[in-house]
Amino acid sequence: MTSIQSTARKRSTPTRPGDRIFRGTSIAAALTILATLAGVALFLTIEGIPGVLASPDEVKHGTTFIDYVVPLVFGTLLAAVLALALAIPVAIGVALYISHYAPRRLASTLGYIIDLLAAVPSVVYGVWGISFLATALVPVYSWLERTLGFIPLFAGPPSATGRTILTASIVLAVMVLPVITALCREIFLQTPRLHEEAALALGATRWEMARLAIFPYARSGIISASMLGLGRALGETMAVAMVLSASGVITFNLISSTNPSTIAANIALTFNEATGLTVNALIASGLVLFLITFLVNFAARAIVERRKDFSGAN
């Protein structure tokens, strides 16, 4: 067998120059991607290390790198997690509406309308958030402080401009909503027809059918969609930079005028005035952000990969 195969292979590969060039070009393109990613990690590390090692009096922020970056990481995680907490229930609802509740003929159009949210540039979200949403939310925040002020999250005093971390999270939630919705919708649509019909035939109502047939099948898909949304929310820069009035503190108070900043927003806001080692520190914080988003995305892919055989999420 082996000898036949090897002779067959020898005869079936005539080496034409065109083939060799084309093949070489496409391999080179693929390797460029490898090189780019390696470059991202490498150049950020090279430029970042001096910033990590800089002593407090050499940089503008005047602290060690750890003290500098920890509040930023906290703010990044807080804003992203809040955004997800707001976005996931709505996204699942919207996806279910489009995939199973909306009139069949309208469904794809409605899906397209939600996809439009993903097309809006982030700077437009920022402009909208700062001049419309923030002011619209000011009375809501003072109401929250009056009625729910005993919860530390809403302890206040409420910000007079509305530019709080909760506002930023709402904008982020709107931005990740189409991402999560699109993925969930695809997964819900892949639920085997027979599972759904079996549930209905046993007398289940439409909601019981969703609980019995759709959600178990889509669970890992929903999780990975949420984590991809989390990756997006962690890295989103402009909306947060514009909406949030940040002061770099660690606090769970969501509606006051002193808010934690996020890594990405902090880079965008301070990079242009930064000089010397401060730039390196900012690049190092970018590297931290890259690692966090990488881990989140990696976990999402791993979940999809592990449960690939049992679910529609692939």
């Binding site: 393109a29 991607i33 090279i46 109502t205 590297l287 988003t293």
Partner: protein, 358 residues
């Protein structure tokens, strides 16, 4: 023993039993009528003079259906109707920000648009006047350069993955890395371009081509993914037919595979351009902002629409009014460009895709 079984007709249940089997249910007009009333109330609340609180009243009106159903149809049906209400509510909630963004940007941006706004730069402009010509040109140039970098790399990578890499370890790695690349935050892409250019040009470098490199990092994975999907859809029979005629592999790819997938590839590339043309963060870092027109990608700062919008609203100067107006105008122009690109992509895929896949 001679008697045979008479064929029996199915027993007709007595009216009481039939009723208990079917169960009581709401009249069919009820959910529709209440839903229509609720929608009408909500529309008045959003567009009318009464106030936004009417939307909540509308929701409460809609909530009558599950409540009524609770007493007539029982718990399970009521839950089902309640979930239907919740799911629809979720969809309506998602529509609010979209509607709000579109109306605010259009109403505040449209009055600013004029021929001067498109043909003047911000050079020597204080206060009123000035325009976005320099930013518009910068955006077009940098995006075009980004597309010129990413489309060949993306397309050839997709060709490698589909045509050459079948089952190879390198292909698996590349697929994984493309996934990783999709998740790179845009600001990190900007920092990468900066860190790369600093090595050659020294600290504080600002260059249009750096912005193009940063955007390419964001654009390449999108192009690869969409091209890969499209090449996958090309039927193997076409390739085999071509091979059977003795056509070399590369000519098969160029003359058979790519033309078949062309509509999809164009759609994918257009969507990728639409995605990066609105990116702000990387350009903020590496391309910067200037008040003058700059056509040279390799020479100094270059204004772009998103960055121009950002600085116009964050640092409006004195008096702030005209600058903020310009920000809304620029935001509207950007939004129109992105929407047009998306629309163009849909049109291409609708009219030029192979007839079977519509």
């Amino acid at each position: 023993m001679t008697s045979t079984l008479q064929p029996t007709s199915p027993p007709t249940p007595s009216p009481e039993i039939a009723k208990s089997l079917r169960g009581r249910s709401l009249p069919t007009w009820a959910p529709k009528a209440i839903g229509a009333l609720s929608v009408a109330l909500a529309l008045v609340g959003v567009f009318g003079p009464v106030g936004f609180w009417l939307v909540f009243v509308a929701w409460l009106v809609a909530a009558i259906v599950p409540l009524w159903s609770m007493f007539v149809e029982g718990r399970r049906k009521a839950t089902d109707r309640f979930v239907t209400l919740l799911v629809t509510t979720a969809f309506v909630i998602a529509l609010f920000p979209l509607g709000s963004i579109l109306t605010t940007v259009v109403t505040r941006g449209a009055p600013v648009l004029s021929s001067d706004f498109f043909t003047y730069s911000m050079r020597n402009v204080l206060g009123e006047g000035g325009g976005i010509y320099h930013a518009l040109m910068g955006t077009l140039l940098i995006t075009a350069a980004a597309a010129a970098i990413s489309v060949p790399i993306g397309l050839f990578t997709a060709i490698y993955l589909i045509e050459y890499g079948e089952g190879k370890r390198l292909a698996r790695w590349i697929r994984f890395l493309v996934d990783v690349m999709t998740g790179i935050p845009s600001i990190v892409a900007g920092l990468f371009a900066y860190a790369l250019f600093v090595i050659f040009f020294g600290p504080g470098v600002r260059m249009g081509v750096g912005g193009a490199v940063a955007l390419s990092v964001l654009m390449i994975p999108v192009v690869v993914r969409s091209c890969e999907e499209m090449l996958k859809l090309v039927p193997n029979e076409l390739r085999e037919a071509s091979y059977a005629l003795g056509v070399p592999k590369w000519r098969t790819i160029v003359k058979v595979v790519l033309p078949t997938a062309l509509a999809g590839i164009v759609t994918g590339v257009t969507l990728a351009v639409a995605r990066v043309i609105g990116e702000t963060a990387p350009l903020l870092i590496i391309a910067g902002l200037t008040d003058s027109v700059n056509f040279n990608l390799f020479d100094g700062r270059m204004a772009t629409l998103p960055v121009f919008t950002y600085f116009s609203i964050i640092t409006p100067g004195v008096p702030p009014g005209p600058s903020i107006e310009r920000a809304w105008g620029a935001a509207l122009v950007l939004l129109i460009i992105v929407m047009l690109l998306n629309f163009a992509a849909r049109l291409v895929s609708y009219f030029f895709s192979p007839k079977g896949e519509r």
